[in-house]
């Protein structure tokens, strides 16, 4: 992770050593490599040596040993030990002495490999020949790029009325001699924008309507319509921001208050499309609802100095909003960029309540870094100000109109989302140049001009012709050789895949992990369907919640089913123990009265008359079972039973709960028989609603219990990761993730091939579809699946294979296998 401490200490020691130079002895002069005999070319032969071996410590603003090689002047001036070179006299030049390493404690370069004799020969010749320095070459600290807001001119050309993005791209294509390909067809376009804006596949009816639409601006209209689906837009972009802001519904830190969710705040911000400058300001200078981001993740115990909450905040503000990596600089001056320890601590200190001592590779330095933002060009922070004032100022610096880095970083992330590769790559290194500087700058300015409206910029990007170009094969693209030719083929995220599977199977998640104001978006998925009954606590005695006799009570409920449900989950609690039977067959039992038990009773149900029978026992004190049928006096304690059945067949809801229509008896003879002798069974006594004492169960206990086993229509982004989502690359959000790895791996496809989760979804989906489409032909079922999954008709060849898989008539196993095969197709998983 970081260079060894010893190496660093050596570096510091030798800085001191530089101050005392020995000089080259005549003996040593003999050992010097001879100067190169040809006229030396500075740019071709000397500059590369400086760049590889000297500049990291003596250029780009670093001045180790008070020595800088910015220019010929600073080189000649030298450092604490005097001039580095004497023009014309290489054998007397200190530089040569150092690179020869005559003093073993003082060898240059300190890091990396020593110079070769050939290189030293070149340096000697260069010095001897007058140390010529080509004009324009400088190793001074460069002004950071992509920082200040800049409004570029449009390129000249005939396309002045074209989409602004295309005006830049056309010029780019012309310069790169790329012939403009034809835009993708309507179906491919619709699939892209649905997935990109709201993360869902286009529903077949909407897709056909769109394809049939003859209006000229229908693509723009579609983009606008999707952007207006605030709920699904927000849910989809939760994934993007949760990854970036490390927000998750469970994870490390929550166990002991070392982490705080920002889910409610984030969802609301996305749902109302809060302007990005305000959004960022509320994360940097947080309200209680948004403070989770800068609070970080705090593990108990001693944490490395580079990972204190303040350092986490500094790293993440820099990375997420400014596209800057401060991680190296959190331990030591970075070797891979120009950031220093003081930069990292200067920013972290803004979040510190007291002085923050700099720690160099786990060693305290005794120094505090002056408080400052990483780009002083953007403004200063008064170190004397109190913390709230500092945070306010920091938020203002980052979100000010002149900060072109904030906007560039964000529009670049959007571009990366939609085109598969950023204008600047990697997207977290915004000090790299864009492949089209003017386009990046224009997008950033346009974004700010439009009030930092993310939806505006998304609309601009998705309505460009550039976005509508055919997808190009993604290959390993080395940074330098990249030429933009269109969006690259992308893979669905874990959440997109899971939601797409929901669209095909009808089986989504039951309950969101957070309490969000979901109302059902304008497109696609609807919110969770709750269970529609209000169950009551029951027993054989209305006072049982206070005290009931120990002993066994049998409870029964008879009900009629007009059709077989495709979903039949029951949730129950019993104080103390129970055995549950359905239609005379054992389903399960439990003895923990504080637990909600969930059972799937579908296999026990039949069309027509059904009955549920429960043997409920109120135990003796000390958790001792009373004898069968015996009520022991003097051992009273609370007893109760509550039950919910969630029975669904398609849209048909047949839920019921425990209430006074249940009957009870002490009779052990017929409790689990279809017929009972009515005179021995009486109506159950209602003790009260779900939340009554002494159990104090939450009103939504059913949903909570069903969340683990049940299925609904809640989208993947709103639930904690399960094995399927994890396998498909949803990160655990311990670290900031701005781009997910998307290539398939074997462990991932194993989960897809034999994982329980997907198998269960397909099984339930197959049952559901077959129940809902009773009697549909295999051809119709196959066509419908093709439309749902791939947005098109199957070809005749595909149709015949699909029918073969389904069977005639379609069987459950066939449905499962066809849905599996469709979901495994690159055409399904990839975004072309």
């Amino acid at each position: 992770m970081k260079p060894t401490l010893t190496r660093l200490i050596t570096a510091f020691v030798s800085v001191v050593a530089l101050l005392t130079r020995a000089g080259i002895t005549p003996e040593q002069v003999k050992n010097l490599p001879p100067p190169a005999s040809h006229p030396v070319n500075f740019t071709k032969e000397i500059k590369p040596i400086f760049e590889a071996s000297c500049i990291k410590c003596h250029g780009r603003g670093r001045d180790n040993g008070d020595f800088q090689i910015d220019s010929r002047e600073t080189l000649l001036k030298g450092g604490g030990s005097g001039p580095a070179i004497i023009v014309g006299k290489s054998a007397e030049s200190y530089l040569i002495e150092l690179v020869m390493g005559f003093d073993p404690d003082n060898v240059m370069p300190q890091k990396g490999t020593k110079l070769t004799r050939e290189q030293i020969g070149l340096l000697r010749a260069w010095i001897d020949q007058g140390a010529q320095w080509d004009a324009g070459v400088t190793f001074a600290k460069v002004e950071p790029i992509n920082l200040k807001a800049r409004r570029p001119e449009f390129p000249p050309g005939r396309n002045q009325n074209a989409h602004p993005i295309d005006r830049f791209v056309d010029a780019y294509f012309a310069a790169h001699k790329i012939k403009l390909p034809k835009a993708v067809d309507d179906r491919a376009f619709a699939r892209r924008v649905y997935l990109d804006v709201i993360g869902l596949l286009p529903p077949p009816e909407e897709l056909e309507k769109f394809v049939a639409d003859k209006s000229k601006d229908k693509r723009a209209q579609l983009v606008q319509r999707l952007l207006a689906d605030n709920e699904n837009y927000a849910i989809h972009w939760m994934t993007f921001w949760n990854d970036m802001l490390r927000n998750d519904y469970r994870g490390t830190g929550y166990i002991d208050g070392g982490r705080k969710q920002i889910t409610q705040w984030l969802y609301a911000a996305l749902e109302k499309n809060q302007p990005y400058d305000q959004f960022v300001a509320e994360l940097i200078d947080p309200k209680p609802e948004s403070e989770g981001f800068t609070k970080g993740i705090v593990w108990r115990g001693v944490v490395n100095a580079s990972q204190t909450p303040q350092m986490q905040a500094a790293q993440h503000i820099s990375q997420v909003f400014m596209g800057v990596n401060l991680k190296c600089a959190s331990c030591h001056d970075s070797f891979i960029n120009d950031w220093t320890l003081a930069d990292a601590y200067g920013l972290a200190g803004i979040y510190s309540d007291g002085p923050l001592e700099m720690v160099l590779c786990d060693k305290p330095t005794g120094k505090n870094a002056p408080l400052r933002f990483i780009y002083p060009q953007l403004g200063e922070i008064d170190p004397q100000a109190d913390k709230p004032a500092r945070l306010k100022k920091l938020a203002q610096l980052v979100t000010q109109r002149q900060d072109g880095r904030l906007t560039r970083t964000f529009v670049n992330r959007l571009w990366q989302e939609f085109f598969g590769r950023g204008l600047v790559e990697p997207v977290d290194e915004m000090e790299n140049p864009a492949w089209n500087v003017d386009l990046l700058d224009w997008l950033a300015e346009d974004f700010a001009d439009h009030g930092y409206d993310a939806k505006h910029t998304i609309e601009v990007m998705l309505t460009s012709r550039a976005y509508q170009l055919p997808a190009v094969a993604a290959t390993e693209q080395t940074e330098k050789s990249f030429v933009f030719q269109g969006p690259v083929v992308r893979r669905m995220s874990a959440e997109q895949f899971r939601d797409a599977v929901t669209a095909v199977t009808g089986i989504g998640y039951a309950t969101p992990a957070a309490d969000l104001p979901l109302e059902g978006g304008k497109t696609g998925a609807k919110p969770a369907r709750g269970t529609v009954v209000s169950p009551k606590w029951i027993w054989n005695d209305a006072d049982a919640a206070n005290k009931a006799k120990a002993g066994t009570v049998y409870l029964r409920k008879e009900f009629t089913l007009t059709e077989l449900p495709t979903e039949a989950a029951v949730v129950l609690r019993c104080d103390n123990t129970f055995q549950l039977q359905v239609n005379g067959q054992r389903v399960g039992e439990g003895d923990v009265h504080t637990r909600s038990y969930v059972f799937d009773i579908r296999p026990r149900l039949k069309k027509g008359q059904n009955f549920i029978a429960v043997k409920a026992v109120n135990r003796l004190p000390g958790d001792v079972d009373p004898k069968e049928g015996e009520a022991v006096p003097g051992t009273e304690n609370p007893a109760g039973f509550i039950f919910v059945a969630r029975l669904r067949a398609g849209t048909n809801v047949m839920d019921f709960g425990s209430d006074s229509s249940w009957t009870w008896s002490h009779e052990s003879a017929d409790w689990n028989k279809p017929q009972v002798s009515a005179e021995k069974w009486k109506n159950a006594a209602v003790l009260g609603d779900v939340t009554i004492s002494p159990w104090n169960v939450r009103a939504n206990f059913t949903q909570q219990a069903l969340a683990k086993t049940g299925y609904g229509e809640v989208r993947a982004a709103l639930v904690a990761a399960d094995s399927l989502q994890t396998a498909l690359g949803r990160p655990n959000r311990e670290q900031v993730v701005t781009v997910r790895a998307s290539a398939a791996t074997t462990l991932q496809t194993l989960e897809l091939t034999n994982g329980e989760e997907l198998a269960r979804i397909l099984g339930r989906g197959a049952e559901k579809i077959l129940a809902e489409q009773n009697g549909a032909s295999s051809s119709d079922l196959a066509k419908e699946l093709y439309h749902k999954a791939l947005g098109r008709n199957p070809t005749s060849g595909e149709l015949s294979t699909a029918r073969e898989i389904l069977g005639q008539p379609a069987k459950k196993a066939g449905m499962e296998d066809l849905m599996w095969a469709l979901a495994m197709l690159p055409e399904f998983q990839l975004i072309y």
Partner: protein, 500 residues
Amino acid sequence: MKTNSQWSRRDFLKTASAATLSALAAGYPRVVFANEPAAEKLKATADTVIVLWMGGGMAHTETFDPKRYTPFEPGIASEKVLSTFPSIDTAVDTIKFSKGLEKLARVMDRGALIRTYTAGDLGFILHSRHQYHWHTGYAPPQTVAAPHLGAVIARTLGPLNPAVPAFINVGQRFDVGEGEELKAFTTAGFLGSEYGPFNIPFPDEAAGTVQPPGGMTPGRFEDRNKFYKKLLAASPVGEHGSDYQKESLIRSLDNAHRLLSSPAAKAFDLSLEPLETIRKYVPSYQPGRRFDAAQDRFGAKYEEQMVGRFGLGCLLARRLAEVGARYIEVTTEYIPFFNWDTHENGHTRLAAMKVQIDSPIAQLVLDLEERGLLNRTLIVLASEFSRDLMMEGKPDNLVKNQVEVPDVIQELKHYGMHRHFTDAGCVLLFGGGLKKGYLHGVTADERPCKTLKDRVIIEDLHASIFHALGISPKLAYEIEKRPFYVTRDGEGKPIPALFG
């Protein structure tokens, strides 16, 4: 040893090319050797590693480093109790074990014992943090996702048999207390999910993890794949030509299918073992016994229900090692306050824990030896830290009370090692080319029973494991342009004395 009898080179190349393809394209980290001569050529003495994880903190003085025994009687002074079990002889004259480990004692002549493993000083002594530290070599949190030891080995050496996942993790569930913390290190981290753990929480259900999904016959499974190939060929996306996303998906699916239909998958099926063999690992085993996944795994019944689960995990490890697994970890399972995490009733519960581990580990050693595999298989038994009855933490470094320790013990439940201790701990190693019958390190005979000589830290333990596998401790992978060393800062040093 394993002379490629069950897998062909061609298979391996196919897998390797798929992995390479995805690795390149997805920007998976590449190897770097910062300032080091390129890849030191090391000769491997082991091909497979089996880590036996005693999650929860295994007291050294109650297991492999017994001290003076003080039997329980009401009224004994706490400070007098160093061990709650008498010592027993082992096959090595100079090494004594604690009573209850008789079978392991008999195979000690095949192993090496480190008594001076010192867990990292991470401030509070906390299970999940120290487990993270043990398994990654780094203390959490980290700015990049640190990979698990198994993932590093999987990434560096690849699978030994391409039909067996390179990193198999047996016996740990993640929907338990501190499960999120366990997940944070049971991961390939930045190395990429290709190298992540193949989790088998219940060894008796392992077969299901490499079989077609529940209820699917092999015939239907083959048909499904055949039909898939037909639909794939018919899909117009084929016309788009080749790109790495598509190639990696198709190849990965092929790999998964090959794994699920490979003969090696049988290794996961414990039902193929004769009862007699299973009982050598789990003497109390009853045929048909299931660790019923749907039943209550918490509360008082947990430990009772789990008896034998670890033993079956060891048996599974043997079967996997036989077919060429690369890295297998079998855990007694970490759940706060269960198994080795004894904050009360330490003596009684440790007697039970020893029953859990003694037979299966000894049998694993003997079975591997009998099959000629022990020389090339390194077994490492370890725990995140040790325990003591009085001391919390390092000597003179008391942390706030976790448990009540009376000065005078009246009740049996107070008799045992109930507090976290980091200044010594045992690591038991077998095979893998290590010295046999060797004892490393000396600890004090009086409280605190701390390390006196030859301290071993995690960097050096990892370096030793890597060394046996032919991996340099200075190996680094690049992430965000920085080198991430497989031992912290590349500074781990193999313990020379462990190697012959």
